[in-house]
Amino acid sequence: MSLTRADIEKIAQLARLDLTEAEIPVYVDSLSRIMDFVGELERAGTAGTSPMAHPLPGLAQRLRADVVSETDQRERYQRNAPQVEAGLYLVPKVIE
């Protein structure tokens, strides 16, 4: 299947990826090829087959006891943050 420039731009926006002018045709081409390639799946007969979300069958989610196990590590965790002030992570203004 063939993806268009508009498709790529829409996907890139949904994924929050800034693409350069030069990158767009490259992704138009390679994503089209990838979608063609995975399109092969269509011919697999999967009627009555349930989707497999997890590689080990029959396992159930383990439940954790409701215990507070964490202490304040803000200073340590914010060392990687590009911009903080008064303990807050800063971003350009969120407009609601």
Binding site: L3, D7, I8, I11, A12, Q13, L14, A15, R16, L17, D18, L19, T20, E23, V26, Y27, S30, L31, R33, I34, M35, F37, V38, G39, E40, L41, E42, A44, T46, T49, S50, P51, M52, A53, H54, P55, L56, L59, Q61, R62, R64, Q73, R76, Y77, Q78, R79, N80, A81, P82, Q83, Y89, V91, P92, K93, V94, I95
Partner: protein, 489 residues
């Protein structure tokens, strides 16, 4: 004391030497650091070398040994794929996005191997976010194959495979989402093991595709893998998908005879895409197994040829979501002077991720988006079920499956970067085990035009002990795993 000969070293051998007092961990670590420094410009296997910390750990290990508190791996130097978070050490995942990221915590794998006494030499190069089969997508430059530095080492654990192949690190952690341990192990002539999904904790291992990712090892020998895996595996309450079952003593069963073992040859693995020389090396290995008493049976996994397209829906889908956290807000790359929130996101991510990562994020975004979810994502998960059933049926008849790891030996750097599909097909034999969560290994089984060839073993869930046993018996009969590239001998 005499400094150990690293080209001839195995983890098992080094552990013996340390125990016998032939050399100290500090001496051994210094020797490794020296070899790393010498190799680095040519191979580029490391992103970060933690020399100072390594020597301190080695000193502590020597003290423990003197005090009689040493375990089997105390003082053995290893290196970690840079996908594992290491506290207070740069953890980049091979990406510009994390090129400034110092992890505040240790991955469970890192912590367990430290508790076992190993000494961490540093962080190994890899394809960016483990997305690649050639180690060419790393922000830190490609890793080169020690057997021929014009060629790729495979990927994504290319740094791990190259480091062990060049004997600059005795063993390395690695991860495998679609073949990222086995394929570089094959291309570099070393031993690689991807355990059963859930056998080793994923906590602290930066996620690519959560339902496929599994941590494992690249080592010189199956025996080394057995020793290391025992220290690394086990239940982790911080990983909901980790399995709560005891870890067997893998080393204890290594030498069991193989008489009565049934090995399945997957018909679909010996297809037209397989290089003739590589196929011949696999057939040679089969003869060794027959000699060891194994029975060979042909089996078929008819849906296996669909594993690559299945994978290239499931893995990108999960990756598109897993990598959404890299948004320039709490850690990682942030663009200069964002004009607004959208600009902050788009540019930080656009600049921080490389071309292949962006391609996979977009592929994944697309297959999950409204109108395509059923046709691609759900369809792929159904095919995944079929592939798993094929394996389950095969394991009704055989103990292990055997086939090639990779369709060809190492290819030239740059040879497959143009067409993503060509690159993706490198993993045609390895992806099935990830989709089904099965343990699998790659073992050196000879050479094709001077380049290593790997054979692959795949076992049923939690059959690592049997698989390691079969691998070790093969390595007792052969010395392919002990061959060292001339430049590093």
């Amino acid at each position: 004391m005499t400094a150990p000969s690293l080209p001839a070293a195995t983890v098992a051998g080094l552990a013996k030497g340390l125990n016998a007092g032939e050399f100290s961990s500090v001496e051994l670590t210094e020797a490794c650091l020296g070899r790393i420094a010498a190799s680095q410009p040519g191979l580029n296997a490391f992103i970060t070398v933690t020399a100072e910390a390594a020597l301190a750990e080695a000193g502590a290990a020597d003290t423990r040994r003197r005090e009689g508190r040493a375990g089997p791996l105390t003082g053995v130097p290893i290196a970690h794929k840079d996908i594992f978070c290491t506290q207070d050490v740069l953890t980049t995942c091979g990406s510009r996005m994390l090129s400034n990221f110092v992890s505040p915590y240790d991955a469970t794998v890192v912590a367990k191997l430290r508790e076992a006494g190993t000494v961490a030499l540093g962080k190994l190069n890899m394809d960016e976010f483990a997305m690649g089969s050639s180690n060419e997508t790393s922000f830190f430059g490609p890793v080169r194959n020690p057997w021929d530095t014009t060629r790729v080492p495979g990927g994504s654990s290319g740094g791990s495979a190259a480091a062990v192949a060049a004997r600059i690190a005795p063993a390395a952690t690695a991860t495998d989402t679609g073949g990222s341990i086995r394929q570089p192990a094959a291309l570099c002539g070393v031993t690689g093991i991807k355990p059963t999904y859930g056998r080793v904790s994923r906590y602290g291992m930066i996620a690519f595709a959560s339902s496929l990712d599994q941590a494992g090892l690249i080592t010189v020998s199956a025996e080394d893998a057995a020793l290391m895996l025992g220290a690394m595996a086990g239940f982790d309450p911080r990983d909901s998908t980790s399995v709560d079952s005891p870890v067997p003593d893998y080393a204890a069963t290594l030498e069991q005879p193989l008489a009565g073992l049934t090995i399945g040859l997957v018909k679909e693995f010996f297809d037209k895409g397989l290089d003739r020389q590589c196929e011949q090396r696999i057939r040679d290995a089969l003869a060794v197994y027959e000699k060891l008493g194994a029975r060979l049976v042909e089996v078929s996994c008819p849906n296996l040829p669909l594993s690559v397209p299945t994978y290239y829906v499931v893995a990108p889908a999960e990756c598109s979501s897993n990598l959404a956290r890299f948004d320039g807000v709490r850690f990682g790359h942030r663009c200069e002077s964002p004009r607004n929130l959208t600009d902050l996101y788009n540019r930080s991510r656009g600049e921080g991720f490389g071309a292949e990562v962006k391609r996979r994020i977009m592929t994944g975004t697309y297959v999950l988006s409204a109108g395509y979810y059923d046709a691609y994502y759900l369809k792929a998960q159904r095919v995944r079920q079929l592939i798993s059933r094929d394996f389950a049926e095969a394991f009704g008849q055989v103990d292990l499956l055997l086939g090639p790891t990779s369709p060809t030996a190492a290819f030239a750097i740059g040879a497959k970067t143009e067409d993503p599909i060509t690159m993706y097909l490198n993993d045609i034999y390895t992806i099935g085990a990830n989709l089904a969560g099965l343990p699998a290994m790659s073992l050196p089984c000879g050479f094709a035009d001077g380049l290593p060839v790997g054979l692959q073993l795949i076992g049923p869930h939690f059959s690592e002990a049997r698989m390691l046993n079969a691998a070790h018996r093969y390595q007792m009969e052969t010395d392919w795993h002990l061959r060292v590239p001339a430049a590093f001998g």
